[in-house]
Protein backbone atom coordinates (compact mmCIF):
# COMPACT_ATOMS: atom_id res chain seq x y z
CA UNK A 1 0.00 0.00 0.00
CA UNK A 2 1.30 3.39 -0.88
CA UNK A 3 0.53 6.73 0.70
CA UNK A 4 0.92 8.25 4.07
CA UNK A 5 -1.67 7.73 6.77
CA UNK A 6 -2.97 10.04 9.41
CA UNK A 7 -2.67 8.65 12.90
CA UNK A 8 -5.07 9.39 15.66
CA UNK A 9 -3.50 11.07 18.65
CA UNK A 10 -0.20 10.03 20.13
CA UNK A 11 3.01 11.94 20.48
CA UNK A 12 4.06 11.52 16.96
CA UNK A 13 3.20 13.64 14.00
CA UNK A 14 -0.16 13.45 12.39
CA UNK A 15 0.21 11.73 9.13
CA UNK A 16 -2.47 12.00 6.56
CA UNK A 17 -3.05 10.56 3.14
CA UNK A 18 -1.99 13.04 0.53
CA UNK A 19 -5.02 13.54 -1.65
CA UNK A 20 -4.57 12.63 -5.24
CA UNK A 21 -5.22 15.38 -7.76
CA UNK A 22 -8.18 14.50 -9.89
CA UNK A 23 -9.33 16.22 -12.99
CA UNK A 24 -12.87 16.94 -12.04
CA UNK A 25 -15.22 18.53 -14.56
CA UNK A 26 -15.04 21.88 -12.75
CA UNK A 27 -11.28 21.88 -12.80
CA UNK A 28 -11.22 21.03 -16.47
CA UNK A 29 -13.55 23.94 -17.22
CA UNK A 30 -11.50 26.28 -15.08
CA UNK A 31 -8.40 25.32 -16.99
CA UNK A 32 -10.13 25.76 -20.33
CA UNK A 33 -11.45 29.18 -19.30
CA UNK A 34 -8.02 30.18 -18.07
CA UNK A 35 -6.41 29.17 -21.33
CA UNK A 36 -9.07 30.93 -23.37
CA UNK A 37 -8.68 34.11 -21.31
CA UNK A 38 -4.91 33.98 -21.69
CA UNK A 39 -5.23 33.47 -25.42
CA UNK A 40 -7.70 36.33 -25.75
CA UNK A 41 -5.47 38.60 -23.75
CA UNK A 42 -2.43 37.64 -25.75
CA UNK A 43 -4.27 38.37 -28.97
CA UNK A 44 -5.64 41.64 -27.68
CA UNK A 45 -2.13 42.70 -26.69
CA UNK A 46 -1.37 42.93 -30.36
CA UNK A 47 -4.24 45.33 -30.89
CA UNK A 48 -3.86 49.02 -30.05
CA UNK A 49 -2.99 48.95 -26.42
CA UNK A 50 -2.73 51.95 -24.21
CA UNK A 51 0.12 52.06 -21.80
CA UNK A 52 0.99 48.60 -22.87
CA UNK A 53 1.99 49.67 -26.32
CA UNK A 54 1.34 47.42 -29.25
CA UNK A 55 0.68 48.41 -32.80
CA UNK A 56 -1.50 51.39 -33.47
CA UNK A 57 -3.02 53.06 -36.46
CA UNK A 58 -1.28 56.30 -37.46
CA UNK A 59 -3.20 59.51 -37.54
CA UNK A 60 -5.89 59.72 -40.15
CA UNK A 61 -4.87 63.01 -41.61
CA UNK A 62 -7.11 65.07 -43.74
CA UNK A 63 -10.44 64.63 -41.97
CA UNK A 64 -11.68 68.21 -41.85
CA UNK A 65 -13.10 69.41 -38.55
CA UNK A 66 -16.75 70.22 -38.44
CA UNK A 67 -17.97 73.73 -37.77
CA UNK A 68 -18.98 72.69 -34.27
CA UNK A 69 -15.54 71.34 -33.57
CA UNK A 70 -13.91 74.47 -34.93
CA UNK A 71 -16.11 76.62 -32.75
CA UNK A 72 -15.41 74.47 -29.69
CA UNK A 73 -11.69 74.60 -30.44
CA UNK A 74 -11.72 78.35 -30.71
CA UNK A 75 -13.77 78.76 -27.56
CA UNK A 76 -11.42 76.52 -25.60
CA UNK A 77 -8.35 78.22 -26.94
CA UNK A 78 -9.67 81.70 -26.29
CA UNK A 79 -10.31 80.69 -22.70
CA UNK A 80 -6.77 79.31 -22.39
CA UNK A 81 -5.21 82.32 -24.10
CA UNK A 82 -7.00 84.70 -21.77
CA UNK A 83 -4.88 83.40 -18.91
CA UNK A 84 -1.71 84.70 -20.62
CA UNK A 85 0.06 81.55 -19.57
CA UNK A 86 1.79 78.95 -21.68
CA UNK A 87 -0.51 76.04 -22.52
CA UNK A 88 -0.59 72.82 -24.50
CA UNK A 89 -2.96 72.34 -27.40
CA UNK A 90 -3.56 68.85 -28.70
CA UNK A 91 -5.16 68.50 -32.07
CA UNK A 92 -6.27 64.87 -32.25
CA UNK A 93 -6.61 64.93 -36.02
CA UNK A 94 -3.41 66.52 -37.17
CA UNK A 95 -0.93 64.56 -35.09
CA UNK A 96 0.87 67.23 -33.18
CA UNK A 97 0.95 68.70 -29.74
CA UNK A 98 1.55 72.44 -29.62
CA UNK A 99 3.07 74.61 -26.96
CA UNK A 100 1.23 77.89 -27.20
CA UNK A 101 0.69 81.18 -25.48
CA UNK A 102 -1.77 83.98 -26.26
CA UNK A 103 -2.88 81.94 -29.26
CA UNK A 104 0.69 81.92 -30.64
CA UNK A 105 2.57 78.77 -31.46
CA UNK A 106 5.84 78.46 -29.55
CA UNK A 107 6.86 74.89 -30.28
CA UNK A 108 5.35 71.93 -32.04
CA UNK A 109 5.85 68.34 -30.94
CA UNK A 110 5.28 65.80 -33.66
CA UNK A 111 3.10 62.95 -32.45
CA UNK A 112 3.81 59.77 -34.33
CA UNK A 113 0.60 58.13 -33.29
CA UNK A 114 -2.03 58.61 -30.68
CA UNK A 115 -4.63 56.55 -28.92
CA UNK A 116 -7.72 57.43 -26.99
CA UNK A 117 -8.80 55.00 -24.29
CA UNK A 118 -12.02 54.83 -22.37
CA UNK A 119 -12.80 52.52 -19.52
CA UNK A 120 -15.26 49.82 -20.47
CA UNK A 121 -18.77 50.05 -19.04
CA UNK A 122 -18.33 53.78 -18.51
CA UNK A 123 -21.19 54.74 -20.74
CA UNK A 124 -19.06 55.78 -23.71
CA UNK A 125 -18.88 59.31 -25.00
CA UNK A 126 -15.92 61.58 -25.42
CA UNK A 127 -14.20 63.94 -23.08
CA UNK A 128 -16.13 65.82 -20.46
CA UNK A 129 -14.35 69.07 -21.22
CA UNK A 130 -12.10 70.67 -23.77
CA UNK A 131 -9.77 72.38 -21.32
CA UNK A 132 -7.83 70.63 -18.59
CA UNK A 133 -5.45 71.69 -15.85
CA UNK A 134 -2.31 69.74 -15.01
CA UNK A 135 -2.48 68.40 -11.47
CA UNK A 136 0.45 66.03 -11.52
CA UNK A 137 3.14 67.31 -9.21
CA UNK A 138 6.20 67.78 -11.31
CA UNK A 139 9.38 66.53 -9.70
CA UNK A 140 11.91 69.15 -8.74
CA UNK A 141 14.74 68.88 -11.27
CA UNK A 142 18.14 67.83 -10.10
CA UNK A 143 20.01 71.03 -9.35
CA UNK A 144 23.78 71.05 -9.54
CA UNK A 145 25.37 72.85 -6.60
CA UNK A 146 27.23 75.94 -7.67
CA UNK A 147 30.74 76.00 -6.25
CA UNK A 148 31.82 79.04 -4.30
CA UNK A 149 34.98 80.46 -5.78
CA UNK A 150 37.90 81.77 -3.88
CA UNK A 151 38.36 85.53 -4.49
CA UNK A 152 41.57 84.93 -6.41
CA UNK A 153 40.33 81.73 -7.99
CA UNK A 154 39.27 80.88 -11.51
CA UNK A 155 36.93 83.15 -13.47
CA UNK A 156 33.18 82.89 -13.44
CA UNK A 157 33.13 81.27 -16.85
CA UNK A 158 34.83 78.03 -15.88
CA UNK A 159 32.65 77.27 -12.86
CA UNK A 160 29.48 78.20 -14.75
CA UNK A 161 30.51 75.89 -17.53
CA UNK A 162 30.96 73.00 -15.10
CA UNK A 163 27.50 73.65 -13.66
CA UNK A 164 26.07 73.93 -17.16
CA UNK A 165 27.53 70.57 -18.11
CA UNK A 166 26.11 68.99 -14.97
CA UNK A 167 22.77 70.50 -15.88
CA UNK A 168 23.00 69.17 -19.42
CA UNK A 169 23.68 65.68 -18.06
CA UNK A 170 20.66 65.82 -15.79
CA UNK A 171 18.52 67.04 -18.68
CA UNK A 172 19.64 64.10 -20.77
CA UNK A 173 18.24 61.88 -18.05
CA UNK A 174 14.77 63.38 -18.22
CA UNK A 175 12.08 60.73 -18.57
CA UNK A 176 10.90 59.58 -21.96
CA UNK A 177 7.88 57.74 -20.57
CA UNK A 178 5.56 59.41 -18.12
CA UNK A 179 1.93 59.92 -17.28
CA UNK A 180 0.30 63.25 -16.56
CA UNK A 181 -2.97 63.73 -14.70
CA UNK A 182 -5.32 66.59 -15.45
CA UNK A 183 -8.51 68.01 -14.00
CA UNK A 184 -11.27 67.41 -15.04
CA UNK A 185 -10.07 63.83 -14.90
CA UNK A 186 -7.90 62.96 -17.87
CA UNK A 187 -4.68 61.04 -18.09
CA UNK A 188 -2.09 61.81 -20.73
CA UNK A 189 0.41 59.06 -21.22
CA UNK A 190 3.53 60.13 -23.10
CA UNK A 191 5.66 57.38 -24.57
CA UNK A 192 8.91 58.49 -26.09
CA UNK A 193 9.43 55.48 -28.27
CA UNK A 194 8.23 56.42 -31.70
CA UNK A 195 10.81 55.79 -34.36
CA UNK A 196 12.78 53.57 -32.07
CA UNK A 197 13.28 50.25 -33.78
CA UNK A 198 11.73 47.41 -31.87
CA UNK A 199 12.24 43.75 -32.57
CA UNK A 200 9.31 41.75 -33.80
CA UNK A 201 7.09 40.92 -30.91
CA UNK A 202 6.56 37.34 -30.01
CA UNK A 203 3.50 36.03 -28.22
CA UNK A 204 5.52 36.05 -25.02
CA UNK A 205 6.33 39.74 -25.49
CA UNK A 206 2.64 40.37 -25.98
CA UNK A 207 1.86 38.59 -22.76
CA UNK A 208 4.56 40.52 -20.96
CA UNK A 209 3.20 43.83 -22.21
CA UNK A 210 -0.22 42.70 -21.14
CA UNK A 211 0.62 43.53 -17.56
CA UNK A 212 -0.04 47.20 -18.33
CA UNK A 213 -3.54 46.47 -19.55
CA UNK A 214 -4.27 44.33 -16.54
CA UNK A 215 -2.90 47.01 -14.27
CA UNK A 216 -5.13 49.58 -15.95
CA UNK A 217 -8.11 47.33 -15.48
CA UNK A 218 -7.41 46.72 -11.82
CA UNK A 219 -6.84 50.42 -11.32
CA UNK A 220 -10.21 51.08 -12.91
CA UNK A 221 -11.83 48.53 -10.62
CA UNK A 222 -10.17 50.25 -7.67
CA UNK A 223 -11.50 53.63 -8.78
CA UNK A 224 -15.00 52.23 -9.09
CA UNK A 225 -14.85 50.56 -5.69
CA UNK A 226 -14.12 53.87 -3.99
CA UNK A 227 -16.74 55.66 -6.08
CA UNK A 228 -14.35 57.64 -8.26
CA UNK A 229 -14.79 58.21 -11.96
CA UNK A 230 -12.25 56.42 -14.11
CA UNK A 231 -10.53 59.08 -16.19
CA UNK A 232 -10.24 58.61 -19.94
CA UNK A 233 -6.75 58.28 -21.28
CA UNK A 234 -4.80 59.69 -24.18
CA UNK A 235 -1.60 57.97 -25.22
CA UNK A 236 0.87 59.89 -27.35
CA UNK A 237 3.88 58.33 -29.02
CA UNK A 238 6.67 60.84 -29.47
CA UNK A 239 10.32 60.59 -30.35
CA UNK A 240 12.36 60.11 -27.15
CA UNK A 241 14.00 63.54 -27.45
CA UNK A 242 10.64 65.20 -28.04
CA UNK A 243 9.20 63.47 -24.98
CA UNK A 244 12.08 64.75 -22.89
CA UNK A 245 11.70 68.27 -24.26
CA UNK A 246 8.00 68.20 -23.56
CA UNK A 247 8.70 67.14 -19.99
CA UNK A 248 11.12 70.04 -19.57
CA UNK A 249 8.60 72.58 -20.81
CA UNK A 250 5.86 71.49 -18.43
CA UNK A 251 4.86 73.97 -15.80
CA UNK A 252 2.69 73.37 -12.73
CA UNK A 253 -1.05 73.78 -13.37
CA UNK A 254 -0.40 74.07 -17.09
CA UNK A 255 -3.50 73.90 -19.27
CA UNK A 256 -4.19 71.38 -21.98
CA UNK A 257 -6.64 72.28 -24.69
CA UNK A 258 -8.19 69.53 -26.77
CA UNK A 259 -9.09 71.09 -30.01
CA UNK A 260 -9.67 70.66 -33.68
CA UNK A 261 -7.71 73.00 -35.94
CA UNK A 262 -9.75 76.15 -36.47
CA UNK A 263 -7.80 77.07 -39.59
CA UNK A 264 -6.06 74.96 -42.22
CA UNK A 265 -2.71 73.80 -40.91
CA UNK A 266 0.27 75.90 -41.95
CA UNK A 267 3.68 74.30 -42.30
CA UNK A 268 5.71 75.03 -39.17
CA UNK A 269 8.62 76.28 -41.24
CA UNK A 270 6.41 78.88 -42.85
CA UNK A 271 5.46 80.17 -39.44
CA UNK A 272 9.06 80.26 -38.34
CA UNK A 273 8.24 77.86 -35.58
CA UNK A 274 10.85 75.35 -34.50
CA UNK A 275 9.47 71.87 -34.75
CA UNK A 276 10.70 68.97 -32.76
CA UNK A 277 10.93 66.48 -35.59
CA UNK A 278 9.38 63.08 -35.84
CA UNK A 279 12.00 60.45 -35.40
CA UNK A 280 12.86 58.53 -38.52
CA UNK A 281 11.67 54.94 -38.33
CA UNK A 282 15.17 53.77 -39.10
CA UNK A 283 16.62 55.11 -35.87
CA UNK A 284 18.39 52.26 -34.17
CA UNK A 285 17.19 50.90 -30.87
CA UNK A 286 18.29 52.64 -27.72
Amino acid sequence: MTGVYRTSGGRGPRLSRLPEFRWTAGRRWALVLLLVALLALALSAGAPAGAGGGSAVPFALGAPPSAEEQAAALAAEIAAAKTHAIYLALDPRSGHLDLKVDGLLLRRFAVERGLFGRPRFSGGGGLAADRFRLVTELPEPERPLIPIRSPEGAGAGSSSLAVSEARAESMAQMPTHYRLRFEPPLELSVRGESGVATPDESALDGLWRLRFRLYEGWQAVGHRLIGQAVPPRIVLYLAPEAAQRLFMTLDPAMQLVIAAPPVPAVAPGALGVPEVPRAAPSVPAR
Binding site: L15, P119, I148
Partner: protein, 267 residues
Protein backbone atom coordinates in the same frame (compact mmCIF):
# COMPACT_ATOMS: atom_id res chain seq x y z
CA UNK B 1 20.17 -0.59 13.41
CA UNK B 2 20.83 2.99 14.32
CA UNK B 3 20.35 5.10 11.19
CA UNK B 4 23.10 7.33 10.04
CA UNK B 5 21.97 10.95 10.43
CA UNK B 6 24.13 12.07 7.53
CA UNK B 7 22.30 9.61 5.34
CA UNK B 8 19.00 11.28 6.05
CA UNK B 9 19.84 14.28 3.95
CA UNK B 10 20.42 12.12 0.96
CA UNK B 11 16.99 10.60 1.44
CA UNK B 12 15.09 13.72 0.50
CA UNK B 13 15.39 15.95 3.53
CA UNK B 14 16.99 19.27 2.77
CA UNK B 15 19.10 20.67 5.58
CA UNK B 16 17.69 24.01 6.77
CA UNK B 17 20.92 25.56 7.98
CA UNK B 18 21.74 26.07 11.55
CA UNK B 19 18.19 26.14 12.81
CA UNK B 20 17.22 22.80 11.42
CA UNK B 21 18.80 19.50 11.63
CA UNK B 22 18.00 15.98 10.76
CA UNK B 23 17.09 14.13 13.85
CA UNK B 24 17.74 10.65 14.75
CA UNK B 25 14.29 9.17 15.13
CA UNK B 26 15.46 6.53 17.54
CA UNK B 27 16.86 9.09 19.93
CA UNK B 28 14.38 11.96 19.59
CA UNK B 29 11.15 10.17 18.78
CA UNK B 30 11.16 6.61 19.93
CA UNK B 31 7.46 6.27 19.31
CA UNK B 32 7.94 6.93 15.67
CA UNK B 33 8.72 3.35 14.96
CA UNK B 34 5.09 2.56 15.39
CA UNK B 35 3.81 5.61 13.64
CA UNK B 36 5.70 5.62 10.43
CA UNK B 37 4.27 3.62 7.68
CA UNK B 38 6.42 1.04 6.01
CA UNK B 39 6.77 3.01 2.82
CA UNK B 40 8.83 5.61 4.61
CA UNK B 41 12.08 4.73 6.10
CA UNK B 42 12.40 5.60 9.73
CA UNK B 43 14.95 8.28 9.24
CA UNK B 44 13.18 9.97 6.39
CA UNK B 45 10.86 12.95 6.35
CA UNK B 46 11.67 14.37 9.76
CA UNK B 47 12.94 17.83 10.37
CA UNK B 48 13.21 20.25 13.22
CA UNK B 49 13.27 23.97 13.63
CA UNK B 50 14.72 24.83 16.98
CA UNK B 51 13.21 22.38 19.41
CA UNK B 52 10.14 21.80 17.35
CA UNK B 53 10.08 18.80 15.11
CA UNK B 54 7.67 18.02 12.37
CA UNK B 55 7.13 15.61 9.60
CA UNK B 56 6.97 16.80 6.02
CA UNK B 57 3.63 15.15 5.56
CA UNK B 58 2.20 17.57 8.15
CA UNK B 59 2.84 20.51 5.88
CA UNK B 60 -0.22 21.87 4.07
CA UNK B 61 -0.91 20.08 0.87
CA UNK B 62 -0.20 22.70 -1.78
CA UNK B 63 -2.10 20.76 -4.37
CA UNK B 64 -5.28 21.72 -2.58
CA UNK B 65 -4.52 25.36 -3.31
CA UNK B 66 -4.24 24.88 -7.05
CA UNK B 67 -7.97 25.16 -7.67
CA UNK B 68 -8.61 28.32 -5.62
CA UNK B 69 -5.44 29.93 -6.95
CA UNK B 70 -6.40 29.20 -10.54
CA UNK B 71 -9.87 30.57 -9.91
CA UNK B 72 -8.48 33.72 -8.30
CA UNK B 73 -6.09 34.22 -11.21
CA UNK B 74 -8.94 33.78 -13.66
CA UNK B 75 -11.13 36.27 -11.84
CA UNK B 76 -8.25 38.75 -11.70
CA UNK B 77 -7.59 38.32 -15.40
CA UNK B 78 -11.22 38.73 -16.33
CA UNK B 79 -11.59 41.75 -14.04
CA UNK B 80 -8.52 43.36 -15.51
CA UNK B 81 -9.65 42.69 -19.04
CA UNK B 82 -13.30 43.42 -18.52
CA UNK B 83 -12.91 46.68 -16.61
CA UNK B 84 -9.83 47.83 -18.48
CA UNK B 85 -9.63 50.35 -21.26
CA UNK B 86 -10.71 50.00 -24.82
CA UNK B 87 -8.43 51.95 -27.11
CA UNK B 88 -9.01 53.50 -30.46
CA UNK B 89 -7.17 55.84 -32.73
CA UNK B 90 -6.89 59.34 -31.34
CA UNK B 91 -8.03 60.92 -34.58
CA UNK B 92 -11.38 59.20 -34.10
CA UNK B 93 -11.76 60.54 -30.57
CA UNK B 94 -15.15 62.16 -30.09
CA UNK B 95 -14.49 65.80 -29.41
CA UNK B 96 -16.36 67.71 -26.75
CA UNK B 97 -19.15 69.50 -28.51
CA UNK B 98 -20.70 71.93 -26.13
CA UNK B 99 -21.18 74.44 -28.91
CA UNK B 100 -24.55 74.55 -30.57
CA UNK B 101 -25.01 74.64 -34.31
CA UNK B 102 -26.17 78.23 -34.08
CA UNK B 103 -23.00 79.23 -32.29
CA UNK B 104 -20.94 77.46 -34.89
CA UNK B 105 -22.11 79.63 -37.73
CA UNK B 106 -19.44 81.04 -40.05
CA UNK B 107 -19.94 84.48 -38.60
CA UNK B 108 -19.51 83.18 -35.06
CA UNK B 109 -16.40 81.30 -36.10
CA UNK B 110 -14.92 84.41 -37.68
CA UNK B 111 -15.68 86.42 -34.57
CA UNK B 112 -14.07 83.79 -32.37
CA UNK B 113 -11.00 83.73 -34.60
CA UNK B 114 -10.70 87.50 -34.38
CA UNK B 115 -11.06 87.33 -30.63
CA UNK B 116 -8.23 84.85 -30.40
CA UNK B 117 -6.03 86.87 -32.70
CA UNK B 118 -6.75 89.99 -30.70
CA UNK B 119 -5.09 88.41 -27.68
CA UNK B 120 -1.81 88.00 -29.54
CA UNK B 121 0.65 90.89 -29.53
CA UNK B 122 0.53 93.05 -32.63
CA UNK B 123 4.01 94.49 -32.32
CA UNK B 124 7.29 92.69 -32.00
CA UNK B 125 7.74 90.07 -29.35
CA UNK B 126 10.63 88.10 -27.98
CA UNK B 127 10.54 84.35 -27.57
CA UNK B 128 13.25 82.56 -25.62
CA UNK B 129 13.74 78.82 -25.91
CA UNK B 130 15.62 77.93 -22.73
CA UNK B 131 16.31 74.36 -23.82
CA UNK B 132 17.89 75.25 -27.15
CA UNK B 133 19.28 78.57 -25.83
CA UNK B 134 17.80 80.51 -28.72
CA UNK B 135 16.12 83.91 -28.74
CA UNK B 136 13.70 84.91 -31.48
CA UNK B 137 12.53 88.39 -32.28
CA UNK B 138 9.19 87.95 -34.04
CA UNK B 139 6.35 89.95 -35.42
CA UNK B 140 3.24 88.08 -36.41
CA UNK B 141 4.43 84.92 -38.15
CA UNK B 142 7.77 86.38 -39.19
CA UNK B 143 11.08 85.86 -37.49
CA UNK B 144 12.90 89.17 -37.54
CA UNK B 145 16.02 87.87 -35.83
CA UNK B 146 17.24 84.63 -34.36
CA UNK B 147 20.06 84.77 -31.85
CA UNK B 148 22.09 82.33 -29.82
CA UNK B 149 21.73 83.17 -26.17
CA UNK B 150 22.60 81.82 -22.75
CA UNK B 151 20.00 81.12 -20.09
CA UNK B 152 20.00 79.98 -16.46
CA UNK B 153 21.98 76.98 -15.26
CA UNK B 154 19.22 75.80 -13.01
CA UNK B 155 21.96 75.44 -10.41
CA UNK B 156 21.65 75.97 -6.68
CA UNK B 157 23.85 78.33 -4.67
CA UNK B 158 23.92 78.01 -0.90
CA UNK B 159 25.48 80.64 1.33
CA UNK B 160 27.65 78.62 3.72
CA UNK B 161 27.31 81.26 6.44
CA UNK B 162 23.63 82.22 6.41
CA UNK B 163 22.21 79.15 4.64
CA UNK B 164 20.39 81.32 2.11
CA UNK B 165 19.69 79.58 -1.16
CA UNK B 166 19.32 80.83 -4.71
CA UNK B 167 18.14 78.89 -7.75
CA UNK B 168 19.50 80.26 -11.02
CA UNK B 169 16.64 79.45 -13.36
CA UNK B 170 15.32 81.56 -16.21
CA UNK B 171 11.64 81.89 -15.35
CA UNK B 172 9.19 80.37 -17.84
CA UNK B 173 6.09 82.32 -18.73
CA UNK B 174 4.94 85.63 -20.11
CA UNK B 175 6.93 88.76 -19.29
CA UNK B 176 7.17 92.27 -20.63
CA UNK B 177 10.05 94.60 -21.33
CA UNK B 178 9.63 96.99 -18.44
CA UNK B 179 12.60 99.21 -19.15
CA UNK B 180 15.59 99.58 -21.46
CA UNK B 181 18.97 101.07 -20.68
CA UNK B 182 22.13 101.81 -22.61
CA UNK B 183 25.40 101.26 -20.75
CA UNK B 184 23.63 99.62 -17.84
CA UNK B 185 25.27 99.39 -14.45
CA UNK B 186 24.76 96.18 -12.55
CA UNK B 187 23.81 96.56 -8.94
CA UNK B 188 25.26 93.28 -7.82
CA UNK B 189 22.96 91.29 -5.52
CA UNK B 190 24.15 89.35 -2.49
CA UNK B 191 24.47 86.06 -4.35
CA UNK B 192 27.13 87.52 -6.64
CA UNK B 193 29.38 88.10 -3.63
CA UNK B 194 28.53 84.74 -2.09
CA UNK B 195 29.46 82.99 -5.31
CA UNK B 196 32.71 84.95 -5.55
CA UNK B 197 33.52 84.07 -1.98
CA UNK B 198 33.86 87.71 -0.99
CA UNK B 199 32.10 89.46 1.90
CA UNK B 200 28.85 91.23 1.10
CA UNK B 201 29.66 94.96 1.08
CA UNK B 202 27.90 97.34 3.41
CA UNK B 203 28.62 100.25 1.16
CA UNK B 204 26.13 100.20 -1.72
CA UNK B 205 28.60 101.84 -4.06
CA UNK B 206 30.74 98.72 -3.88
CA UNK B 207 27.96 96.75 -5.51
CA UNK B 208 27.96 98.70 -8.73
CA UNK B 209 29.53 97.00 -11.74
CA UNK B 210 29.53 98.98 -15.01
CA UNK B 211 31.11 96.24 -17.16
CA UNK B 212 29.38 92.89 -16.78
CA UNK B 213 26.06 93.66 -18.48
CA UNK B 214 27.47 94.79 -21.80
CA UNK B 215 26.24 97.80 -23.79
CA UNK B 216 22.49 97.38 -23.39
CA UNK B 217 19.96 95.85 -21.03
CA UNK B 218 16.24 95.12 -21.27
CA UNK B 219 14.61 94.77 -17.87
CA UNK B 220 11.97 92.07 -17.45
CA UNK B 221 11.29 92.54 -13.73
CA UNK B 222 12.19 90.38 -10.77
CA UNK B 223 15.88 91.07 -11.35
CA UNK B 224 15.86 89.33 -14.74
CA UNK B 225 17.37 91.08 -17.73
CA UNK B 226 18.34 90.55 -21.31
CA UNK B 227 21.89 91.85 -21.47
CA UNK B 228 25.36 91.36 -22.93
CA UNK B 229 28.18 89.25 -21.63
CA UNK B 230 31.90 89.13 -21.15
CA UNK B 231 31.78 85.39 -21.85
CA UNK B 232 30.68 85.28 -25.46
CA UNK B 233 32.29 81.88 -25.96
CA UNK B 234 29.67 80.46 -23.61
CA UNK B 235 26.72 81.63 -25.68
CA UNK B 236 24.43 78.74 -26.52
CA UNK B 237 24.94 77.12 -23.13
CA UNK B 238 22.98 77.33 -19.91
CA UNK B 239 25.49 79.25 -17.82
CA UNK B 240 23.70 82.31 -16.42
CA UNK B 241 22.13 83.15 -13.10
CA UNK B 242 18.70 83.42 -14.72
CA UNK B 243 19.26 86.39 -17.01
CA UNK B 244 19.35 86.02 -20.79
CA UNK B 245 22.72 86.85 -22.29
CA UNK B 246 23.23 87.83 -25.91
CA UNK B 247 26.19 88.56 -28.13
CA UNK B 248 26.99 92.21 -28.80
CA UNK B 249 25.49 92.46 -32.29
CA UNK B 250 22.32 90.59 -31.45
CA UNK B 251 21.88 92.60 -28.28
CA UNK B 252 22.17 95.87 -30.14
CA UNK B 253 19.62 94.75 -32.75
CA UNK B 254 17.15 93.44 -30.18
CA UNK B 255 17.54 96.57 -28.07
CA UNK B 256 16.83 98.78 -31.05
CA UNK B 257 13.84 96.81 -32.35
CA UNK B 258 12.03 96.09 -29.09
CA UNK B 259 10.01 98.85 -27.51
CA UNK B 260 9.23 99.00 -23.83
CA UNK B 261 6.05 97.03 -23.17
CA UNK B 262 6.83 94.27 -25.67
CA UNK B 263 5.97 90.78 -24.58
CA UNK B 264 8.68 88.26 -23.80
CA UNK B 265 7.71 84.59 -23.87
CA UNK B 266 10.12 82.28 -22.10
CA UNK B 267 9.61 78.53 -22.41
Amino acid sequence: MRPDPTRSASLGLEPLGSIAEVLDPEREAPALDTLLVPTLSQDRGWAAVGRRRFHLSDLPDLRRLIGPLALAALVALLLGLGFGFSYGDLSAMPLPSRVTLAAASPRALARAGQKLAAGAPHGVRIEVDTIANRLFLKQGDKILREAVCSTGTGGLLVDPHSGRRWVFETPHGVHRVLDKKKDPIWNKPDWAFVEEGTPIPKNEAERLDPYSLGDYALYLGGGYLIHGTLYQRLLGRSVTHGCIRLGDEDLAAIFKATPVGSRVYIY
